[in-house]
């Protein structure tokens, strides 16, 4: 007897990870950093992350090279990072070591940030695409919010602070997070919200940086996203919230931030960066924590489901055993059942349920081992945000 091909896939449908942020905030950079750093981050973990198809592989390779292309002549130039015009799916597969059967699909979605808030007088050409993207976000298991750390930390005046809120489209993010949390209530699926400040090289000292403003950065992030955290905490009490600063380049230092007025009473801020002398290579930090958090949530949830499935099959096998015993106690019904073929049907059920119970128990054990190892891995930078603290 062979296991149906869709056996494991049936209990582990594709997990979705969505990004939530406006144009130019660093969605693509953080996604590329996470996926690029995944082999290193998961090197000592019992899981492997691979692209599921050629398209995802080529797309990722292309973005990676664009990011690397930005570092030239001792400065970082975002010239090399063209903005996206369409949504882009990255389809990956998480495999648990020593098992070819245990494969979990993870889909990441990136999209042009301008779609997040349609301008009131703007054309709505992208509306059908945004509807699809929005459905993905609401249906996602994990939401990642990239935040421009430079703007948060460098805003000094009231106008600049106002520009930071407008730049990050925090009101729109709040609305979507609340809707997401509401929809996820009672689904039994995992929910993970990650606040990920990017461009943190200048404020953290653990990756070659000169200053350490770790606590100030966290305070600035939680203060700016207080509304998002509260709305999420009220709706999804069992969900996990993580704060995780990420160096997408790791080798640069902020030299200047221009608050350029755009003529409509707002600013279009732009940071200028220089590559640190003696550190010309990209050194991603923090992205691995997000990958590990995602793997933890996914393996833990899938392991639980596999265990439940194994128990379910086990109890169905017990029922079939009892039925079989009952059918074979007395001679006449035994002959009658044999003649009518009922005996064979029950025997078939006993074998099938027994076998499936063993299979799923095997999956659950493999996943439990992976969860145990992942749980002992310490985060480099990430910190859990306590729901009680947020609500209080």
């Amino acid at each position: 007897m062979t296991m149906p091909a869709s056996g494991f896939a049936a209990i582990a449908p594709t997990f979705k990870v969505a990004m939530l942020g406006p144009s130019g905030v660093g969605k693509t950079s953080i996604l590329v950093s996470m996926l690029d750093d995944a082999p290193r981050a998961l090197a000592h973990q019992p899981v492997l992350l691979r692209e599921r198809d050629d398209v995802s592989q080529l797309r990722l390779q292309s973005r990676r090279e664009q990011l690397r292309g930005g570092i030239a002549n001792h400065s970082f130039d975002s010239d090399a990072l063209p903005g996206d015009r369409n949504e882009a799916y990255y389809q990956l597969e998480l495999r648990v070591h020593d098992s070819d059967d245990v494969r979990i699909n993870i889909d990441f979605l990136d999209y042009p940030g301008g779609w997040l808030v349609p301008s009131p007088d703007g054309a709505e050409d992208h509306r059908p695409h945004w509807d699809e993207v929005r459905r993905f976000i609401i249906d996602a298991d994990m939401i990642l919010i990239p935040i421009d750390a430079v703007l948060l930390m460098e805003a000094r005046t009231a106008l600049q602070r106002k520009a930071v809120v407008a730049h990050h489209r925090i009101a729109a993010v709040e609305d979507i997070v609340e809707e997401w949390a509401t929809v996820r209530q009672g689904t039994g699926r995992p929910s993970l919200l990650v606040l990920a400040p990017v461009k943190t090289e200048t404020y953290l000292a653990d990756n070659g940086g000169l200053n350490d403003h770790d606590r100030e950065l966290q305070t600035a992030v939680t203060r700016a996203y207080d509304g998002v955290l509260k709305r999420f905490a009220y709706r999804a009490t069992a969900a996990e919230t993580l704060y995780c600063p990420v160096d997408t380049l790791g080798c640069v230092e902020l030299t200047r931030l221009d608050w350029r007025p755009d003529g409509s009473g707002n600013f279009q801020p732009r940071g200028r960066f220089l590559v640190r002398p003696g550190q010309p290579e990209i050194s991603i930090r923090g992205a691995a924590d997000i990958m590990i958090a995602i793997c933890r949530v996914i393996t833990s949830y899938t392991g639980e489901v596999a265990k439940q499935q194994a128990q379910d099959y086990s109890s169905r096998k017990d029922e079939a055993d009892a039925q079989h015993r009952e059918m074979t106690v007395h001679l006449v019904p035994r002959i009658a059942n044999w003649i009518t073929g009922r005996t064979r049907a029950v025997e078939r059920d006993r074998t099938r349920f027994g076998w499936q119970s063993v299979q799923y128990m095997g999956y659950a054990e493999q996943l439990a081992k992976a969860v145990a190892v992942l749980a002992t891995t310490k985060y480099q930078r990430a910190r859990r945000i306590s729901v009680e603290e947020v609500v209080r």
């Binding site: 080529l58 063209p82 903005g83 042009p112 054309a123 755009d262 003649i339």
Partner: protein, 331 residues
């Protein structure tokens, strides 16, 4: 969003033949078509095979002309709020009544040539970049046009794109009289100069109206195997150049070996299967036409071929199952 038509000289309404997609400086002014949205969804077939952050194109022969999408021409001097270089994407449509077909064809050909040269060496985009920048350098105009949808604004954007094509056409060479349609379908590497001539010949055939409806000439940047390219219908051809990104960590770029793309086989007409009623009616007619002797022989033969009558065991099992004698009509 519907396409905006505008009246031509004769007073009939025609939609623009040229559309431009770009963005403005401000965060709000993300990529959008200017003035009018191009009609249809013909690009959806290739959407998953194109990464719009890198050069790619699609040229398709339609029943009465052609349509072309060229993406990835970088601006030479325009940047957005975060310092990212702004890009241009163009859609051209040639159909009866859409302006000067020769001008459009020469401009389109020049655009395709620039794209191929730019893929191999980004400096080669310079002419095209300058031509677009000349027309679309006014950021407030771009910002306004990306929000506007009207016949006039569509026409205005079209005029500017046609100006770009006219400027590019000035540097074009003479017409090639011996243009022939490329009938075979293939996938080749966009970074090998030898493939450019073949590709341009295929593109030129479509642009000069020598192609068949359904022919496609494409530059795709998320494809490395012919099996991932949509197969052309029988009789049509598809010629693809794969523009792959550089290799990982400074490794050389993956080379695409030349591959044939098999067209979809023509579907044989399926013989309609008669329904059970039709079958029994035909059989009834056939039996009615037989003589009495033939009918008797047929019945004998039928009886001999029938499966053997079931024994007492089968009778007993059926009895237990149904609680009735086999052969008795069910209620």
């Amino acid at each position: 969003v519907t396409n905006q038509d505008h009246p031509d000289a004769a007073g009939t309404h025609v939609s623009p033949s040229a559309y431009l997609e770009t963005r403005g400086f401000k965060q709000d002014d993300d990529y959008a078509f200017l003035g009018a949205q191009p009609p249809g969804d013909w690009l959806d077939r290739f959407a998953g095979l194109m990464d719009t952050t890198r050069p790619c194109m699609a040229l398709e022969q339609t029943s009465n002309g052609w349509r072309l999408f060229v993406n990835g021409i970088p601006s030479a001097k325009r940047y957005d709020f975060s310092g990212r270089r702004i890009g241009y994407a163009v859609i051209l449509e040639q159909r009866p009544g859409s302006g000067n077909p020769d001008e459009l064809q020469v401009g389109a050909e020049r655009l395709v040539t620039s794209l191929l040269a730019g893929i191999v060496s980004p400096d080669e985009f310079k002419d095209a970049s300058d031509a677009f920048d000349e027309q679309f350098s006014d950021d407030s105009w771009v910002a306004g046009m990306r929000k506007t949808r009207s016949a006039e604004s569509g026409m205005e954007a079209e005029r500017k794109v046609l100006n770009v094509l006219a400027r590019l056409s000035r540097s074009a060479g003479g017409q090639d009289p011996a243009v022939r349609r490329v009938t075979e379908s293939w996938l080749r590497d966009a970074h090998e100069l030898d493939n450019h001539a073949r590709f341009l010949a295929a593109a030129r055939a479509l642009l000069t109206g020598k192609g068949e409806a359904g022919d496609n000439v494409l530059v795709l940047n998320l494809v490395s195997e012919a099996t991932n390219v949509p197969r052309p219908p029988a009789g049509a051809s598809v010629n693809v150049l794969a523009n792959l990104p550089p290799g990982k960590d400074g490794q050389p770029r993956q080379r695409v070996r030349p591959q044939r793309i098999e067209p979809v086989k023509p579907v044989k007409p399926v013989k309609p299967v008669p329904s059970k009623q039709e079958e029994s009616a035909t059989a009834g007619k056939a039996v009615a036409s037989l003589s009495r002797r033939q009918r008797r022989q047929l019945a004998k033969q039928h009886k001999a071929e029938r499966p053997r009558a079931r024994g007492p065991l089968a009778w007993f099992r059926a009895l237990l199952r149904r609680g009735r004698k086999p052969g008795t009509p069910s209620t």
